[in-house]
Symmetry: C2
Subunit: 748 residues, 2 copies
């Protein structure tokens, strides 16, 4: 800080001298005149009017020059003020109980308030492009979902490069790493640290708090984080930012040499120990501090021997307290009570706690006072509070905010945004190409949030387990319950949604009796972007995240026959799928009626076919798609039979997990499955039709993409162009063998 201010001082002195110099030049210019002007004095009287005019012009100009001068002086004195500002924040140990309201940053604040600009206290400078470090302990599916809202609120206001450090369990690691990889926010780095390796550090501490062992891990950050990391802001996952985090980061510069940890006072009466009879909290200074937001001066903590210190404190207190009630917070407070000089108290608005019995209302008088909201009540959004409506709005703003909009570059800061490869490819695109939009779409990286909901499933031991794989968007949500009733096995679903829709889905799933009791369904959100429906990209996300040896590749508007899961598992054994390259075809049928009594058996199905209440799938509009299944043969078949690939065949199949992925160049409607089955054939998969398996397509309104396809001729033209390119790639991959597909295509 001192260095910096001295630098700034020099600069301003320089500019002042410059200004003085200027003024001298003005005067000099003036004097140049004088030599001559004397002689001419007499002629003056003639033109009094001219004088007056001149004077007024002059005077106004003089005022301007003086004003300029004054401004720069003002600037100078101000910066000198900042420079001279005595290191503050040590009031923490000066007089205890002294609230942050006496702190200088609040002093500035109230001064600023007059200017209606409370959101910018003259806090210590943070350099442009200075990297800010943020640490967060995050474990499990729900925390991984919550932390995204925190991250969004930080990114929304930030103007500096950020480095997020996540202490994660395996679940959170998987979710967040793929999320940030696909998010590709410029000037944002992310590091992960294995929480399990840290468990031993804290597992000996009995903890009553619902956060469990992870609630204690903030104590281990000096050890967990890189040893060369000097400072970090530590945040709980239930935090929402309402301002630029750089303001908070800047406060590190206000730490005295002694101070190592910045905290906001606790805003409930918990540590006063008067909440109920015999309520005995851990020791704390006054009402103690809240650890939802921490400025951690790692370097100094390490020098201090923090690791031993907090342990000693914990051991000592645990002898009488037996366990922690508020996890790490109890230990931090006990530690601080013993070492008050080490704490730098932050103004309360850096952690407005919406806990029950909170005193937070005394903390802000202005919307703009609110910088960080902490939803530390078990009631979360339903907490009662005078201004909860305001807080909720703030929270919802980010909950439903389109995360793609946060992919904005920081002007003037180095950024490793999208990989060069993508950039190059984008530049190669020809905007006049009639299929530009298709090609553009193919290069878009969609944000992916894996396992959006709780997921607990370990595949069956016998290596026969099969995951139902499908993708959907909002308009098919009603199918989920039905599918779950027809398929008891694991399911991997990719949902193509906006951030707001994902929240709607969440509410729906949490309200559904059927869905909330199923823990073997993996829901993977692929966030919407662009005008097309990238159906194959979405399918691949569902496919990649199936964790069984086999997958059943289906569509969400089909209901499998009851018992299909078990039947398929038997089939993969019978047909020795483990050692052969096979694709098991599940014959597809359809009903045009809503209220269908679903056939219990093949026999029942056949009679419904005869009665015309069922049809073979797409019989009316697209027979080619499934004709090769040979429904006639299927009627009487009792054993699996092999069928030949034919052009435009798109059956629903069971294959090994390691099957080729879907070709992502096909977006929206058309050829998205056809191309996949074609490649299965190219890789010499045997297409085996299962004699006792079936699935039925449920009617639904046509999707937007189909209507678009139907209406637009350019859409159809591009589809053909893409097909050709696909064929070219095939022959490159599979050589002359692939030519058969091209000819097949031609013969259509």
């Amino acid at each position: 800080m001192n260095l910096l201010c001295r630098g700034r001082l020099k600069l301003l002195v320089a500019s002042l001298t410059a200004v003085v110099l200027l003024t001298w030049l003005y005067l000099l210019a003036g004097n140049l005149e004088n030599g001559r002007s004397l002689l001419l004095a007499p002629c003056l009287a003639d033109t009094p009017a001219a004088q007056v005019l001149e004077r007024s012009v002059l005077e106004s100009r003089v005022r301007e020059v003086e004003e300029e001068n004054r401004q720069i002086r003002l600037q100078l004195s101000q910066s000198q003020g900042t420079a001279a500002q005595p290191p503050d924040g040590n009031y923490a140990n000066q007089q205890w109980g002294a609230s942050a309201d006496t702190g200088p940053e609040d002093g500035d604040n109230t001064a600023e308030e007059k200017n209606n600009h409370t959101e910018c206290p003259r806090s210590p400078p943070v350099q442009k492009c200075e990297l800010i470090h943020v640490a967060c302990v995050c474990a499990g599916h729900n925390a991984s979902r919550d932390v995204v809202t925190l991250v969004k609120s930080v990114l929304f206001h930030r103007r500096n490069p950020l480095h997020f450090h996540f202490i994660t369990d395996t679940v959170a690691h998987r979710i967040l790493s793929s999320l940030f990889q696909s998010w590709m926010v410029p000037s944002v780095q992310v590091s992960f640290y294995d929480a399990d390796e840290l468990k031993s550090e804290v597992s000996w501490i009995p903890n009553k708090h619902y956060s469990g062992i992870y609630g204690l891990m903030k104590l281990t950050l000096t050890k967990a984080l890189p040893s060369d990391l000097t400072k970090v802001i530590v945040l709980d996952t239930d935090i929402t930012f309402a301002t630029d985090i750089a303001e908070l980061w800047g406060i590190f510069r206000k730490f005295t040499d002694k101070q190592v940890i910045g905290l906001v006072e606790n805003q409930s009466d918990w540590y006063l120990g008067n909440l109920w009879k015999n309520h005995k909290p851990w020791p704390a200074l006054g009402r103690g501090f809240n650890t939802g937001v921490i400025l951690l001066y790692l370097e100094r903590l390490r020098r201090l021997g923090w690791e031993q210190m907090w342990r000693l404190t914990a051991e000592k207190e645990l002898m009488s307290m037996l366990s922690t009630s508020l996890a790490d917070q109890d230990i931090f407070n006990a530690f601080i009570k013993q070492n008050p000089v080490l704490v730098h108290q932050l103004p309360c608005f850096w952690n407005v706690q919406l806990s029950d019995h909170t005193r937070s209302e005394q903390c802000y008088t202005e919307v703009s006072d609110l910088k960080v909201i902490h939803w530390n009540s078990p009631k979360k959004l339903r907490v009662k509070n005078k201004h909860v409506e305001f807080f909720r709005n703030l929270y919802l703003t980010f909950l439903e905010y389109d995360g793609n909009l946060l992919r904005r570059e920081l002007f003037g800061c180095p950024s490793q945004a999208s990989p060069e490869s993508v950039k190059a490819a984008l530049e190669d695109l020809d905007e006049d190409d009639q299929c530009y939009d298709f090609r553009r779409e193919r290069l878009t990286v969609h944000r992916v949030h894996l396992y959006f909901l709780q997921y607990e499933y370990t595949p069956a031991e016998d290596d026969t387990d099969i995951t139902l794989v499908a993708q959907l968007s909002m308009d098919r949500l009603q199918m989920l319950e039905a599918i779950c009733k027809h398929w008891e096995g694991p399911i991997s679903l990719a949902l193509y949604m906006s951030d707001a829709e994902a929240q709607q889905f969440l509410r729906y799933a949490q309200a559904s009796e059927v869905l909330k009791n199923r823990k073997n369904v993996g829901y993977h959100i692929v966030y919407k972007e662009g005008q097309f429906y990238p159906v194959n990209l979405v399918r691949n996300v569902a496919l990649r995240n199936a964790n069984t040896p086999y997958v059943f590749l289906t569509d969400v508007d089909f209901l499998p026959m009851y018992g299909l899961y078990e039947y398929l598992r038997r089939s993969v054994v019978q047909l020795d799928m483990a050692h052969t390259k096979k694709a098991l075809v599940v014959p597809a049928f359809e009903t045009l009626r809503y209220r269908l009594s679903f056939p219990k058996s093949k026999a029942e199905l056949l009679s419904m076919l005869d009665m015309g209440t069922l049809y073979t799938f797409r019989y009316h509009v697209w027979p080619k798609g499934h004709a090769p299944t040979d429904y006639a043969k299927w009627r009487t078949a009792t054993t699996p039979y092999r069928v030949e690939w034919e052009a435009d065949f798109e059956p629903y199949v069971v294959v090994r997990r390691d099957c080729p992925e879907y070709d992502q160049r096909f977006v929206g409607f058309g050829w998205n499955k056809v191309s996949h089955v074609l490649e299965l054939d190219a890789q010499e998969y045997d297409l085996m039709v299962l004699p006792n398996a079936f699935m039925i397509h449920m009617p639904h309104a046509p999707s937007f993409d189909i209507s678009k396809f139907r209406s637009s001729s350019s859409y159809r033209n591009c589809l053909n162009t893409l097909k050709d390119e696909f064929h070219q790639d095939l022959s490159r991959k599979y050589g002359s063998a692939a030519l058969k597909y091209l000819t097949a295509q031609r013969n259509i």
Copy 2:
């Protein structure tokens, strides 16, 4: 490129002259200080030789001074991490004493930038709760839609009470008045002024600009706005705010006594007149000013006699120019050229113009420099620009932002948010009441945006015209095209959507060949809020905004028979609807199949009924709903016949526009139509079944509300409670006569 260079050259010349003039002023200022200026001026006239000598000496000095001056600025800005503003632009105008980068706000700004807080310059204080006035000319459906995004961006950042003044045509007035009424944003006032009354003020000016006559109306604001209004910020509808508008408002305080209008320099070369051969723009200072953002000091303008002044300017210029090319902007610039001292130049970031050939990139080096974006290119969002991605994100943020979240109170400022009545009612609600959610929903005021798309229709002269009235949400969008094909008459649709969905709908409608050619469909957006589907509230919005004497109350998943519109118009005459209380019943049928060849006649329909490809509506699940229609009788009927009301009857009817509204206590699924028909009967409407009319329900997936209804028992219980309350209200309204409904209810 060439053009640009020439532009630069001209500027340099301009700058140099400016500098010469400056130096003279400096010089004289110098003498003032020496008390010798009196001797000065006339002598110049006397001694040309000396003059030349001095001037050359001075000019060389000036060049030195100017160079040094530039050096210092450069130093300063570089060290402060911001590039100096392009000198030319500023110097060009320095002579008007309004150089943007000598202005204190920039001084502070760059100083602030060190602290990474450019978004809060220490701009002149705006008092807490000081009322800020904003004026906007808005005409037609599209502008009314665009202006909402501007308003959202202002509300998002604002911390002061706002008063919006809209100069509107009748269309915009209707849309915006109902929007703001239902928006109920605390501390926001809105006033409307009739643009038609102002037309005569500007209609005499020939204008080539696409904005037409409304583009000129900003000139009339001193007359249009209340005479006691002293200051106002004037904005175009294609503006997006990225900061608190109070910052801009504060700049009024920096106006010198002479200045009356604050503007940002134009960022295209238009007024340099070098864009193409023989391009002759209106006169302007340098590159002129842009009028997308104006600080208008109304009080001073009135004193100045602005109304006469701009007229004189316009008349004078029009003699040679014949017409304006950029509407009001041409006249403002010509005026300013004549009265330079009246303008206060604003820093360029207060109006970053994304027009073609814009120089705006030279205006900002920091995200936080961007305060106001002006989409003043005909290309709008598709404009090419280095940072357009960033701008687009900013714009989209507000385009899709949930406007309900902007209903937040300003702490500590008086606010007349929701009317006391509502507040009281809310407090009366008992949270433990099992139907709390239903009652709460009933008190929610939903934001309504009427006529979201172009609408041009005048009802037929003969007073027989009928509007098809229906409501829908996203999941029924595909029905719209079909309905439009089956019904050529006027349609009033209420769409229940989120802000983001409304934009999806907009894109869909604008892409649909069928929809974009229909101008007699009124689309009214009712914005989503709360967990229920307020179906009757949404229906009432559609009903209220039908502007024909009769309405056909239907549901969006029905297709009317071809020619129904004409048939109904004949029927209302035959049955003398004008002078009798009748509800004409259109018999309802349904298909369970998707691909239905729609019956061309009653005969065809009857045979399809016999074949079982069609059913009477809800025949399987809810016969009561339509049984009273007496389908048996209808088969053979050739003339309209009267039927008796029965419990749970919910036919689709044609009634006079002045029929009772739907009862809004019924939300989601259940009794929403039943209650309406019941009230028709209570008001002694005759239920007449039309012998040659029919409509067919198209299959679709069950809506979420139904599934919720089916799953939840408390939902069903509440529905019964609401029914009882409805009956009580009925008897209050219609006395003992209404008892029959209660008994009918009991007998079910």
